[in-house]
């Protein structure tokens, strides 16, 4: 699972060049994927690593024509990573239901909103939930360490 996404998924489209989008774009471009990242704000591309080897596209990700220009129909992976849940839902629904993109990811701050994607094969990623799980996990790990010490 280290690579997470197999080699058959070659073309990657990321919408939203925030910290998460930029980091993801860089890592995937290092994995020899064809990455395109879209953002409305030209300055946001400064967040990309200088070693980023993919494309950038300046445009509104909620505009069908921008998504077409980014070749959404031939994308294998689409990640909706803007800072607006509704925009992410909109983009991921278009990617999955209209363009049949095989793997679609939607970043949501508000986990409940994933209900809008009911019956759609879209994976939602919720940062607060992930953080909570990470905290719980490290608490658990610490507990195990201390209990190990106790038994010793």
């Amino acid at each position: 699972m280290a690579n997470g996404i197999g080699n058959k998924y070659k073309n990657v489209l990321i919408v939203g060049c925030g910290r998460m989008g930029a980091a993801l774009a860089y890592i995937m471009s290092q994995q020899n994927k064809n990455v395109t990242i879209v953002d409305m704000d030209e300055l946001s591309f400064q967040k990309l690593s200088p070693a980023y080897g993919g494309n950038t596209l300046l445009g509104d990700g909620t505009n069908i024509n921008t998504l077409k220009e980014a070749d959404i129909a031939n994308s294998d992976i689409v990640v909706a990573a803007t800072n607006d849940d509704n925009i992410n839902l909109f983009i991921s629904a278009i990617a999955r239901e209209i363009h049949g993109v095989p793997r679609v990811f939607c970043r949501l701050y508000e986990q409940d909103k994933q209900q809008a994607l009911k019956n759609m094969d879209i994976k939602s990623i919720c940062p607060p939930e992930l953080s909570v799980n990470a905290f719980l996990k490290s608490l658990e790990d610490q507990k195990e360490e201390t209990s190990d010490e106790n038994t010793d």
Partner: protein, 220 residues
């Protein structure tokens, strides 16, 4: 009928004014708190809820399960789509009408199952066309992707169809005369009906033959 109206300001207010709110159960959800206060003073029979309708909890609190109709009037297309999807997929509302400001998004809404869209730009374009473009065209109503049109055309003095029975009129393409408006009274078109000056002819036609049909009836 149970109706939910979400987003929008003037559109929501005018819609409430024209709806019979004692006959229908109407629930309004709006993000603007002050606007909600204004509405709740004006409309006593309407449940006004201050909240974000793109959040499932808000819709849950509003109790909109199985409503008959959902209307979304937000300025942001993305919000309208998210509300539409929630209403359809989670709250099992079959009919959702959304305002769509960007014409190329109409198909997005349709393909994602938000059943009906009001395309503001197209509506305005249609109104301009019916008033300015052809004088004898009184009304223009596009149906189903605008391939099917209902036209209201006036019979002028130089109309080729004047004083002729409907059965003898050959319209181009697959157009059909369905009704006649004469002196403000509507009648269903019959084969023997004879058309008179100033009659208004209601025609159903495919988009591609629209201009030919107008010409065949108005003569202009």
């Amino acid at each position: 009928m149970k109706i939910l109206i979400s987003g929008g300001r003037k559109k929501t207010r005018y819609l409430l004014q024209s709806l019979n709110t004692t006959k229908h159960k109407v629930v309004v959800i709006n993000k603007d708190k002050d606007f909600c206060k204004v509405l709740s003073r004006e409309f006593k029979n309407v449940a006004i809820i201050h909240g974000d309708a793109t959040v499932p909890d808000t819709l849950e609190d509003a109790g909109v399960y199985n409503f008959d109709l959902g209307i979304t009037l937000c300025n942001q297309e993305t919000e309208n789509l998210v509300i539409g999807l929630l209403l359809k997929n989670v709250f099992t509302i079959d009919r959702v009408v959304s305002i769509v400001n960007t014409p190329h998004n109409v198909n997005v809404f349709k393909e994602l199952g938000v059943t009906e869209t009001i395309n503001s730009a197209k509506v305005i374009a249609g109104i301009i066309e019916q008033h300015a473009f052809v004088q004898s065209l009184k009304m223009f109503m596009p149906l189903e992707d605008e391939n099917l049109l209902i036209l209201d055309i006036e019979v002028t003095e130089k109309s080729p169809v004047i004083s002729r029975p409907i059965e003898s009129i050959k319209l181009p393409g697959e157009a059909v005369i369905t009704a006649i408006l004469r002196d403000g009274k509507a009648t269903i078109a019959k084969p023997k009906t004879i058309l008179e000056h100033k009659d208004r002819v209601i025609v159903t036609t495919l988009k591609k033959t629209k201009n030919k049909v107008i010409k065949a009836i108005s003569g202009a």
